[in-house]
C-alpha cells in the first residue's frame, strides 16, 4: 500500500512537478514562504498539487496577514508515518492532507479530527461546490471530516489505437468482448493487457470493477461494514472467478507479476506497442504524455470505461479509483487555529484561482460547473472525458486498500496477489478474506 501512494502523488504530476519532487528529498518538512512557526500549520504532500497550494498560500497570506497559514510539504511515504507519530503524540498540524476512507477513519476513531459537518451545513454554497460522490469518501459515520483539494483520479481502460486498428477491433464494451479481444491479440502476437502485478495494487482495480459490475456498490459497502461473510458474497466469488478466467486465457502480458507499476513499465508496454490495453488510474495520462508525447499528440492513445458484465447489477457508469486527496482539520488545534483553518478551507482552497492552477497542471477538480473552463484547456479531450465520467458516476468507490483499515488493506493485496498467481482459488480467496476480517 505504501508504494501506491508515492506513485500516485508522483504520477499525478508531470515533468515540472517531477523536478519539485526530486528536490524534496528527506522527511523534514519544507516551508514555502516565511519562517517556520508563522501562521496556522498545514501539512501536505509534495507532487502535483504542490505548486497550486503554494500560490494559494501566498494569495491567502497577502489577504489575511493576521490569520496566515504555513504550508509544509512532505514526501508521501515518510509523511504517512510522520503524521501518525505527530498526531499520536498530540503534536500535529492544524490541517493535514489525507486520502479519506479507512485511514481517515482511524484518525476519527481516535478522536483526532474535527467534524466539519456543522460548518458545511451552515454554508450551502460551499457544500454544493463539490461532487457528492467525492465528498462522500471523507465521510465517517455520516459526518464530513474532510474536503477535497485536488483532481479526481478514476481508473479507466487505456488502449493503443494503432494495435486495435492492426487487428481491426473496437475497444471492449462487455466482458465477453474483452475475452474475445484477448484471443485476437494473442493470435496476432500482441500482449492483450499490460499490468504492473509486482506492485499488487493494480490487481485490485480488476477486483473492484468486476465486483461492482457484477453485484453493485452494496457488496463492498457490506465488506467495509465488516458484515460476517461479506467477502463470500456471490459477486466477489464471481469477480475472483472472472479474474482467474482472464489470467488463464493469457490476458495479461507474460511475466506481469514481475512488472513494477511504480516505474511506469506497464504504461511503457502500452506506448511501445507491446501491449494493447492497460487498466490504470487517470494519473497514467500525464505519465504517457511525458514519456511519449508524440504517441498522445498523434491521437494513438485511446481510453474507454471498464466493460460491463452481462446480467450484472452495477451501473455501467460506476467508477473506482482515487476520488481525490483531502484536507482535514485536527481536533487538537487551538480554537483560533481551527477558525483560521476552516476559513482557509472555505475561501483559500478550490477557489477560482486555485481551480485554474489545477486545470493548468492537468488535473480535473471535483467541482461543479467547470465544463467551459475544461473545454478551453490544453488536452481538453481527456480532461472533459474524465470530468464527465466522474460527474455522472453514481458511485465512485475509493480503492479498497484505502477504504479498509490498513491492516485489512495489506492482507487483501497479498491474497489478491496469490489469486492472480494461482496459489489461491477464487473460493480460497474469499474464505481467506472472510477469515482475516473476523
Amino acid at each position: 500500500m505504501a508504494p501506491r501512494n508515492t506513485h500516485r502523488a508522483f504520477f499525478s504530476t508531470g515533468a515540472a512537478a517531477l523536478a519539485l519532487t526530486l528536490t524534496a528529498c528527506g522527511s523534514s518538512g519544507r516551508t514555502v514562504a516565511g519562517g517556520p512557526g508563522g501562521g496556522t500549520l498545514v501539512w501536505a504532500l509534495t507532487g502535483g498539487t504542490e505548486t497550486t497550494l503554494t500560490s494559494s498560500q501566498q494569495a491567502w497570506n497577502k489577504a489575511n496577514p493576521k490569520n496566515a497559514v504555513n504550508v509544509q510539504f512532505f514526501q508521501n511515504d515518510p509523511y504517512k508515518q510522520k503524521l501518525r507519530t505527530a498526531i499520536g503524540a498530540g503534536n500535529g498540524p492544524a490541517i493535514f492532507e489525507n486520502f479519506g476512507g479507512g485511514t481517515l477513519k482511524d484518525y476519527v476513531d481516535a478522536g483526532k479530527v474535527a467534524d466539519l459537518t456543522p460548518e458545511l451545513d451552515k454554508d450551502a454554497a460551499w457544500k454544493g461546490r463539490f461532487f457528492p460522490s467525492v465528498l462522500k469518501v471523507a465521510e465517517v459515520n455520516g459526518k464530513n471530516y474532510a474536503i477535497p483539494i485536488n483532481g479526481v483520479q478514476p481508473v479507466v481502460l487505456f488502449y493503443n489505437k494503432d494495435l486495435f486498428a492492426k487487428v481491426g477491433a473496437q475497444p471492449p464494451k462487455t466482458w465477453d468482448d474483452l475475452l474475445a479481444l484477448v484471443h485476437r491479440f494473442k493470435a496476432a502476437g500482441i500482449a492483450p493487457l499490460s499490468m504492473g502485478g509486482a506492485s499488487k495494487w493494480p490487481d485490485l482495480m480488476w477486483l473492484e470493477y468486476l465486483t461492482d459490475r457484477v453485484g453493485g456498490p452494496q457488496v463492498f459497502a457490506n465488506i467495509a461494514a465488516r458484515k460476517p461473510g461479506a467477502w463470500s458474497d456471490p459477486a466477489v466469488l464471481k469477480a475472483a472467478t472472472m479474474i482467474r478466467q482472464l489470467v488463464d486465457a493469457g490476458g495479461f502480458a507474460k511475466g506481469f507479476q514481475s512488472v513494477n507499476a511504480d516505474t511506469n513499465q506497464a504504461e511503457a508496454q502500452l506506448f511501445t506497442g507491446k501491449a494493447a490495453m492497460d487498466l490504470m488510474g487517470s494519473w497514467a495520462y500525464p505519465v504517457i504524455l511525458t514519456n511519449a508525447p508524440s504517441f498522445v499528440k498523434s491521437g494513438k492513445l485511446g481510453w474507454a470505461p471498464f466493460p460491463t458484465v452481462a446480467g450484472g447489477k452495477g451501473a455501467p457508469a460506476d467508477l473506482v479509483g482515487n476520488p481525490a486527496n483531502f484536507f482535514a482539520v485536527s481536533a487538537q488545534a487551538s480554537a483560533g487555529a481551527r477558525t483560521t483553518a476552516v476559513n482557509y478551507l472555505k475561501k483559500g482552497v478550490l477557489n477560482d484561482a486555485y481551480i485554474g492552477d489545477l486545470i493548468k497542471a492537468g488535473e480535473v477538480p471535483p467541482v461543479n460547473g467547470l465544463e467551459g473552463r475544461l473545454a478551453s484547456a490544453p488536452n481538453s479531450g481527456w480532461l472533459t472525458y474524465v470530468y464527465g465520467m466522474t460527474k455522472s458516476a453514481g458511485s465512485f468507490q475509493l480503492s479498497w486498500d484505502q477504504a479498509l483499515s490498513s491492516a485489512m488493506g495489506d492482507t487483501l493485496l497479498t491474497n489478491l496477489d496469490r489469486l492472480f498467481g494461482g496459489q489461491l482459488s477464487p473460493a480460497q480467496f474469499c474464505a481467506a478474506m472472510d477469515k482475516a476480517a473476523e
Binding site: 482511524d106 484518525y107 481516535a110 499488487k200 511475466g255 514481475s258 512488472v259 513499465q265 495489506d410 498467481g421
Partner: protein, 300 residues
C-alpha cells in the same frame, strides 16, 4: 621485562577499569536495552500508533504463534538462512583462497570483484529489478529466452533470485575474510606438507581448511545472524511478494508494524527476531569453541 611477562594471562585479566566502559554502556542501555524493554511491553498491548496502547496480555503472542503468516515467515527465514549459508560459504572460501595468491592478475580480479561491496543494497536491488524485468530487462534486450523468465513473479524463482542477489552482494565481503585468513597461514606449513608429498588438493584439505577454522566460524556467524536482518534488498526487489513467497521475518515485522499499523503484533515479531539472533550467536560461539579460541600462529 616484568611488564611484558605480566601482561597476558598471569594473575587474571586486568583490562581497563569499568569506569572507562561506562559511556559506551550508557549509550547501549539508552539506545539498545531501553527500546528492547519497550518493545517487549508493546508486544503485550494493542496499538495502532495513534491512540494510547491498550493492554492486550498475551493476545499478540497467541496471534503470532498461530498465524500462518508469521509462522511461514519464520520457516522462510530458516530456509533462507540455511540455503544462503550453503551457497555463500563454499563460493567465498574458494574465491578467498584464489585471490590470496600473490599473482598480479589475481589482485586486479580481486579489486574488480569487490565492487558489489561498495554499492548500497537499495541500489543493488533496483539494478537487479531492472535487469530481470521480463519486458525491458536483460533477457528481452539480448533476446535470450532463458533469461527472460518471470524471475520475481514466480514464487519459487523469486526466492531463488533473492538468495542469488544477496549472495552476489555479500560473497565479496566473506571472500575478503577468507583471503585475509589464508594469508595468515604460515608458509612453513605448506613447505612441510609439500615435503611430505601433499599435492594442491591435499594441501587445501589438510592445511588450508583446518587453519581457516576460526575464519569459517566468524564468517558463518556473520552470515547466519546477518540473514536475520536482510530487509532493504528484499523490500525493494519484491516487497515480500509474490504472495508471501519472500516475506522474511524482518520484512514481516515492518509490514505488520508500519503498513498494517499493528504495532503490538510487530513488536512480538521483533522480540522473536532478537531472541533468535541471541540464541544463534550464543549457539555458534559455544558449539564451535569460539570462546576458547587461541591464535593458531606457529610459535604463539
Amino acid at each position: 621485562m616484568s611488564l611484558i611477562a605480566k601482561a597476558p594471562g598471569a594473575g587474571g585479566r586486568r583490562g581497563p577499569s569499568f569506569a572507562m566502559a561506562a559511556p559506551a554502556l550508557a549509550l547501549f542501555a539508552l539506545f539498545a536495552l531501553a527500546p528492547m524493554a519497550i518493545v517487549v511491553y508493546l508486544g503485550l498491548t494493542k496499538w495502532d500508533g495513534l491512540a494510547t496502547p491498550a493492554w492486550a496480555g498475551a493476545a499478540n503472542w497467541r496471534t503470532a504463534l498461530t498465524s500462518g503468516v508469521t509462522r511461514h515467515a519464520v520457516w522462510l527465514t530458516l530456509k533462507f538462512m540455511a540455503i544462503s549459508w550453503l551457497v555463500q560459504t563454499p563460493v567465498s572460501l574458494l574465491l578467498g583462497v584464489f585471490v590470496a595468491g600473490r599473482q598480479r592478475y589475481r589482485a586486479v580480479l580481486a579489486v574488480l570483484y569487490f565492487i558489489p561491496l561498495l554499492i548500497s543494497s537499495a541500489a543493488v536491488a533496483i539494478i537487479f529489478k531492472n535487469l530481470l524485468d521480463p519486458n525491458f530487462g536483460l533477457g528481452a534486450a539480448l533476446h535470450l529466452s532463458w533469461l527472460s523468465r518471470d524471475w520475481l513473479g514466480d514464487p519459487d524463482l523469486a526466492f531463488a533470485t533473492i538468495v542469488f542477489v544477496i549472495a552476489w552482494q555479500f560473497v565479496p565481503f566473506h571472500t575478503l575474510l577468507y583471503q585475509a585468513g589464508v594469508r595468515q597461514i604460515p608458509a612453513s606449513l605448506y613447505e612441510a606438507s609439500a615435503i611430505d608429498g601433499a599435492g594442491r588438493v591435499a594441501q587445501f584439505r589438510y592445511v588450508t581448511l583446518p587453519q581457516l577454522r576460526y575464519t569459517i566460524v566468524t564468517s558463518s556467524t556473520l552470515m547466519l545472524v546477518g540473514s536475520l536482518t536482510y530487509f532493504d534488498l528484499v523490500f525493494v526487489m519484491t516487497g515480500g511478494g509474490p504472495g508471501y513467497a519472500t516475506r522474511l521475518l524482518p520484512l514481516d515485522m515492518y509490514i505488520t508494524g508500519f503498513q498494517s499499523t499493528q504495532m503490538g503484533l510487530a513488536s512480538v515479531v521483533s522480540v522473536i527476531l532478537v531472541a533468535a539472533g541471541l540464541v544463534l550467536s550464543l549457539g555458534i560461539v559455544r558449539f564451535s569453541g569460539f570462546s576458547r579460541m587461541r591464535s593458531r600462529q606457529a610459535g604463539a
